[in-house]
Structures are given as C-alpha cells and as structure tokens.
C-alpha cells in the first residue's frame, strides 16, 4: 500500500474528517475524476476489512470508516440519491432487526463504485422473493445477526426454488462467523466476513456470467 493510501486509511480509522478531506483535496483534479479516488477508497477500505477479519479493528471503527467515506464522497461528488439505482444486485437484512451489518456492507461497497439496491429489512419470505423477481435481482446479499434468522434462509431458498427463480445468495453476519459451514446448510452459495469478500464474489460472479 502506498503512503498516501496508508495515511488515508489511518484517518478513516481515527474518524478524522478534516485530515482525510485535505488528503483527498490534494488528489482531486478539476475534472472530478472519480478513478484515482475510487482506488484509494477501495484499497483503504479493503485493508480495513482485512484488519477487522484479523481482529485488529473493532466493528465501530469499520462502521464509522464507512460513514466517513460516504460523507467524503457526498462532499466531493454530490452523488444522487441511490434509491433509483438500476442493478441486479440487492442487499437485505433478513428476518431480524439488526441493520448495522447491512449498513456497513452497503456503504463500503457503494463507495467503491458498486451499484446495489438496498431492500432494507424484510422478514417475509414471499415478500422478499416477489421483490427479487419483480426487480430482476440475480444476486442477493443477506445480512443477519441472530441464528434463527440465519436458519430461515433455508426456507427462503426453498421459496425461490418453488418459483423456479435462479438467484445467487451470499450471506453474512455473526452466525456465519461462529459456524463457517452454516451457509451451506441454509442453501447459500457463499459467505463473507468483509465488504471486500462481497466485492470479490461479485467480480467473480460477473466474470462467470460473461463466460
């Protein structure tokens, strides 16, 4: 990692908006080129995710880094509301009411340029399946905190199969951390611990679709 990205990462972890803004200002060219800044955000957040995975950073540091990134992106680019984003990828908090995991994932991968729809919190299988079909979602990322919610994903998968609707399901959250094989048991295609895991899976899935 280059020094600039390392410094930016440290500013994010420290939730230092002033220093991170100054650093970005020095890189931002007059055309509003998103590419350079996109890379810095991606590399910094990727590293933050890896450190979280190794237990070196806390959930609060990861979440607030993402919050700060969103604020910075809005300050520099004044992005439009993402409610009308056109995407075949969606994220949802399923069955339980703990939305922090979804928020971390959504904000960090959005900041890195991935267009995804935020389905909020949905408890009802039929409602979620219907929405995925109507909006032509092909990859669904599900975040849960509670074990019973994780186990309900099995019923959700069965609902998709009854509708004969083919969909990739990636799952994440505490139950999948404590039981790394649980994702298979509930019929998911993969599990991830960090936003980078999700981004890598999306890239691989897109590549497979092309081929």
């Amino acid at each position: 990692m280059d020094d600039l990205t390392l410094k930016f990462k440290e500013h994010l972890i420290d939730y230092d908006k002033t220093s991170s803004k100054e650093l970005l200002r020095s890189l931002f060219n007059s055309d509003g080129d998103y590419t350079v800044i996109n890379k810095i955000f991606f590399d910094a957040l990727n590293d933050i995710g890896e450190e979280w995975n190794k237990g070196k950073l806390s959930l609060a540091q990861v979440y607030m880094s993402g919050v700060l990134c969103e604020e910075l992106i809005n300050d520099f680019f004044n992005l439009e509301d993402k409610k009308d984003v056109d995407s075949n990828i969606a994220i949802v908090t399923f069955s339980d009411y703990h939305i922090l995991g979804k928020k971390i994932l959504y904000s960090q991968i959005s900041v890195c340029g991935y267009q995804i729809k935020d389905f909020g919190q949905i408890s009802d299988n039929e409602k979620l399946v219907k929405r995925c079909i109507n909006e032509r979602i092909e990859l669904l990322m599900i975040s849960v905190l509670m074990l019973p919610s994780a186990l309900k994903i099995k019923e959700l998968r069965a609902c998709f199969e009854r509708e004969k609707y083919d969909i990739e399901i990636i799952v994440g959250g505490a139950p999948f951390v404590f039981n790394p094989l649980l994702y298979k048991e509930v019929g998911a295609n993969a599990t991830g611990k960090t936003p980078t895991d999700a981004m890598r899976y999306i890239d691989k899935w897109r590549e497979n679709l092309k081929n």
Binding site: Y15, G55, L57, S58, L59, A60, Q61, Y63, M64, V67, D96, Y97, H98, I99, L100, K103, M146, L147, P148, S149, L151, A174, P175, V177, F178, N179, L182, E185
Partner: protein, 342 residues
C-alpha cells in the same frame, strides 16, 4: 458440596469437587414447558417451573432469572417483538432525537410490568432453592442498552460525534441499571450478570473502551450491592482483561473466539472465567462431539478453579437438542471432577 459451595470455591481460585455446570437457559424454558416463548415470559411461575425442571434435568449449578434483553427497554416505553424460535428482539428504537435524550427520565421499575414479573420469579425461586444454588439476575449495562434505545448505528454515531449528549444518556442509564440490579439482589438474586457487549474489542477499540465503557462499568458496578459477572455476549475480551479486572467484577464471560488458554493464564487470581462453548455450532453437534468439546474445554480451563463451564453468548440457543445438552451434562460429570484428568 452444594452448587453454591461449588461455585464459591471456584471463585476463590480453589478446586471444588467438580467443575460447575453453568449452562444458562432463558427462552429454552419455553421449549421445556411446551409453550410459545411469548406465553412463557408472560407468567413468572413459568420461569420458576422451567428453571427448577432444567436444573434437575441437566444437573446445572445455577438458576438463571433472565427473561430477555428488551424487558428493560420496555420500562423506558420501548416494545418487544416475540418470535417462535429465538430470543425476543427490541422493537423500533424510541430515542430518535437529541431532545429525546435531554428529556429522558430514569424509569421506575416498580411500575414496569415486565420487570415486576422478573422480581416475582426471583422471589419464588429463592423460596424454592434457598442457598442451595446461586440465582443469577441480569442487567444490561448503561453503555450497551442504547443499542436497543436508539439503534446500533445511531448510537455509534452519538459516541463519536456528540460525547456530551452521550454522557447525559449514560447518567440516566447508570441510575436505572444500579436501581434494577439492586432490586433483583433484594428480591433474592445471589449475583448480577452485567451484560456489556458494546465494551468488547469486537465492537469498540480498547482505547475507546477506556474512555467510555470502562469508566461506566467502574461507577455502576461499585454501586451494585452484590457480586457481579461481566458478559460480552460472544464478543472477545482478552485485549481488555486487565481493565475489566479493575471494574470490580468477579467473573468475566469469555467469547467463543477468545483464546481460552491465554485468557485463563492472564485472568487467574483476578477474574473467574465463564464460558466458552460455541452456541451456534452447538445446534449441529452430536452427543459425541459435545462430549469431546467438553473434555477439551475442561482440560484447558478448569485446573486450579476460577472456571465456570458455560456457553459463549450467555444463553443456550433454542435449537440445541435435548440429547446434546444431556451429553454436555454427562461429560461435565465424567471429565469435570477434580483433580482434572484423574
């Protein structure tokens, strides 16, 4: 030895007759009585019947008077959502603005129907068990309850962006926590489990804990008139073990991802370790796997005392089978007699 004597011996870092079996059952009582979780928690007599049944069946050494976390936020005016097969969840956050915090008052537990049911359970349980086994009451720490009061995301933002308002919220929560803890002790609880997952390094950095959760724990625990255990609900605790020891708590709940050998080495003589079976994996165990896990855990953590065998989260999952729980109890009997390995 009675269960209480067994527990007190291990808390004194001596070896009792066997490792105390501290599996903690809350909503699981509904399963034992064959009723819905919502119905189970509606009547204190259900908790009494289930706890006595569970203690006899699984040969545990503690009575757990815990209902569910959001029973405390009900006292603030919050709601609870019951599900069929898991812990009740807090309903929508009721603190949405800074003004809500400015105007927040300390609830009176005497006027909270839910908290009165808990106290009634404790009184009835005390009447049944006397001093035979410890009765564990539970409080949500002032530092962790805001996750339910205002939502996790908004609470983290409050801690980072408005420390003055954060401390105002802590003043109200601290008073409530102390009042509620002492009410349970007065009703007959032997000790209080201080649930504080936000203080875990899983959730906030040790540096931030030092500025916040640590100070709050010290102040709150010093005003609780009985012994306490601090639990991080699956969060790790090794990086903050020296600080936790300074809060005045006697027992520390170890998360499933903690290195238990290292934790025991660093805590011995200062804190008794409670834990740390993997509750999520437990739901997929066979009796043979359960027995193996117990043997491994006891071998690492039990020698010298200072250890209570339990799960890492603070409650046995609803999905855990009876045969696995019986296998755990059998294994504690088989492998848990001191000296370990004899």
């Amino acid at each position: 030895m009675t269960s209480l004597q067994r527990v007190l011996t291990t808390l004194g870092f001596s070896e009792p007759d066997r490792v105390p079996n501290f599996m903690l059952f809350s909503m699981y009582g509904a399963k034992e009585l064959g009723m819905s979780i919502e119905r189970y928690f509606s009547d204190p007599h259900n908790i009494v019947e289930a706890q006595l049944k569970i203690r006899k069946k699984y040969r545990t050494d503690a009575i757990y008077a815990f209902y569910y976390a959001s029973i405390e936020t009900e006292a603030f005016g919050g709601g609870t959502i019951f599900i069929d097969d898991g812990p009740p969840n807090a309903a929508a956050p009721f603190i949405r603005t800074a003004d809500n915090i400015e105007k927040l008052c300390v609830p009176d537990f005497n006027t909270s129907a839910g908290l009165q049911r808990v106290l009634k359970s404790i009184k009835l349980l005390k009447h049944e068990v006397g001093d035979e086994a410890p009765i564990i009451g539970v409080v949500m720490s002032p530092f962790s309850i805001p996750v339910m009061q205002m939502g996790f995301d908004n609470y983290l933002k409050l801690i980072y962006n408005d420390r003055e308002l954060f401390w105002k919220l802590m003043e109200v929560n601290k008073q409530f926590c102390v009042n509620w803890a002492n009410a349970q002790l007065e009703a007959g609880a032997t000790a209080i489990c201080y649930f504080d997952p936000v203080s875990s390094p899983t959730v906030i950095s040790p540096e931030l804990y030092l500025q916040t959760g640590f100070e709050i724990a010290k102040e709150t625990i010093s005003q609780i008139t009985g012994p306490t255990a601090t639990h991080f609900a699956s969060g790790i605790c090794l990086p903050i073990i020296d600080l936790v020891a300074q809060t005045g708590t006697a027992i520390m709940g170890a998360g499933t991802l903690d290195d238990l050998k290292l934790l025991k080495e660093k805590s011995y003589g200062k804190l008794t370790i409670l834990g740390n079976l993997n509750g999520v994996e437990m739901t997929t165990w066979t009796p043979e796997i359960a027995s193996k896990k117990i043997k491994e855990l006891i071998t690492v953590a039990a020698p010298g005392g200072g250890f209570l065998l339990s799960d890492g989260h603070g409650e046995i999952p609803f999905q855990t089978s009876e045969e696995v729980l019986l296998a755990i109890s059998d294994a504690v009997e088989q492998y848990g007699h001191y000296p370990i390995g004899s």
